[in-house]
């Protein structure tokens, strides 16, 4: 009862929603980069919200189901086939034993989430399956290795009575210009009026230096007088402004502490959009009310976590 990996692609990782409670000793939470797509993939299969999935960055990806199961694919806009028959993302499907799943290079977006009914069966390291290559934690090996050709990823075969599709209004479009909501916290109020104006009025471009740790952007430099700061805890989505004035947005695999001044944080909803952004994507920042963002996240969690199987997470 397993998925045989034929072609893992450049970066495929076992992920869940992250490893919590170890940031005080320097362990990053990690977890799925696009939790919106991740949540829907599990929801389509009636899985526990934290069930392990494969996060496929770019592609191509090819694998063989050794057992009949239901599976779901969410995230990037990809051409995917099951035994050569086209399947569309943001849906669940049924695979027979021996069926071959192929996922191509995304037309839009960057990451696809592959879930199987019941979740991939993978040992947890410090409470989570999440693979953090830099910290050598998680994944099938428990040592942070990515999914490789020839890997056999176990699951407990379970066929759902029917297949499902995510309602159209919840399927994001990955555009070439995106609006990103910013919670104006941390050192935001210590930046000059001029710097704030620049930040909100200019377009910033996603560079090719993007990974699970951080997204480096390029645009009109944001100035800040004081450069040396006492290192402090870095929250998800923090927008660092290093000496060159080019923003770095800190993602799931971020370091736990750091000493750069921060413009605030990208709100959770838009981090998922950013996680799908490819180099060249342009970003327009806008101010997002924090309590509105919290209410939205609260609502999302309530929706995705109401299942009876979510107690252990």
């Amino acid at each position: 009862m397993a998925l045989d990996i034929v072609q893992a692609g450049p970066l495929s990782l076992l992920q869940d929603l992250g490893r919590y409670g170890y940031q005080d000793v320097g362990v990053t939470p990690g977890g799925a980069m696009d939790t919106h797509a991740f949540h829907w993939a599990n929801k389509l299969l009636n899985n526990p919200a934290n069930a392990a999935q494969i996060e496929i960055t770019m592609g191509p990806f090819k694998a063989c189901f050794k057992q009949a199961t239901s599976f779901a694919l969410c995230g990037a806009d990809v051409v995917a086939t099951l035994n050569g028959n086209k399947i569309i993302p943001w849906s669940s499907w049924f695979a027979k034993a021996g069926d071959i799943l192929e996922i191509g290079y995304p037309r839009q977006g960057l990451r696809s989430y592959l879930a199987v009914s019941g979740g991939f069966f993978c040992p947890k390291t410090f409470g989570s399956v999440s693979t953090v290559m830099r910290n050598k934690l998680g994944g099938l090996s428990k040592k942070g290795s990515k999914v490789a050709n020839g890997d056999i990823i176990p699951f407990i075969a379970k066929v759902q009575p029917h297949t499902c599709k995510v309602p159209q209004q919840f399927i994001p479009e990955y555009k070439s210009v995106i609006n990103i909501g910013v919670l104006t916290t941390y050192q935001f109020h210590q930046f000059s009026t001029e710097a704030k104006k620049t930040f909100f009025n200019e377009l910033y471009t996603v560079t090719s230096e993007i990974d699970r740790m951080g997204y480096r952007l390029k645009g009109k430099p944001i100035e800040f007088a004081q450069q040396s700061f006492v290192s402090e805890g870095i929250a998800l989505g923090a927008i660092q402004i290093p000496a060159n004035g080019q923003p770095i947005i800190l993602m799931r695999d971020r370091q736990t502490i750091g000493g750069y001044p921060k413009m605030g944080c990208v709100c959770n909803r838009d981090l998922n959009i950013l996680a799908q952004a490819t180099p060249g994507t342009q970003i327009r920042f806008f101010e997002q009310d924090l309590y509105e963002a919290e209410a939205e996240l609260h609502q999302e969690q309530h929706y995705f976590f109401k299942g009876k199987n979510d107690r252990d997470y």
Partner: protein, 227 residues
Amino acid sequence: MQVNLVNENSVIIYFSDTVCAETTDEITYACQLFRSELNDTLSDIVPSYTSILLSCNLRKTGLQNFVINVRRVLNQLGNVGLTNLVRNKIVLPVYYGQEVALDHRDVSLHTGLAFSEIVKLHTEECYRVFAIGFTPGFAFLGNTPKQMTIPRKASPRLNVPKGSVAIADRQTAIYPSQSPGGWQVIGRTPIDLLDDSEECLSKFAMGDEVRFESIDKQTFLAMGGQL
């Protein structure tokens, strides 16, 4: 003390503007209180030199309620002081031999001190864990004696060997695993700082008292040290 909002589920509290042992004590004790008082509403806590970042589990609490409870703990902290602070004490054996003290020449040259003098200074001081970060279990210990102050290397090493004991500015640290790094390496410990057991990943915790003890090559090797 102000509780500052950070994102949908996080707040940060600044305790002081200065990095010192007193601030570390206060932060260490606040962490103990937060853990015992906030229970499962707390999802992560990141203490650092002068601040604590706290994240809540939004499935157990709302941000507004969380802030109220954080404030309540801070008031409690103000009332009881540091009387119940538990401080771990750690003594770490270090081999300061030239073959593992990769930067012994640069350190001597920069400080004008013989390397034996550097070792003496380094082992005489009692350090505190001011923060943990950079990599899992990487503890920033301060302060090193003023005479041995040295900046980071101009270009970082691509691979600092596991267990390397290093100094930079007024701080010292041990590399828990092989990693890139720019600190000046002056020795190596045979002790494994990362533990795979589920209870404690890192040997160090915020606020711990750390001393270094010089050992000879034979002892280093007998304790499992790798050259």
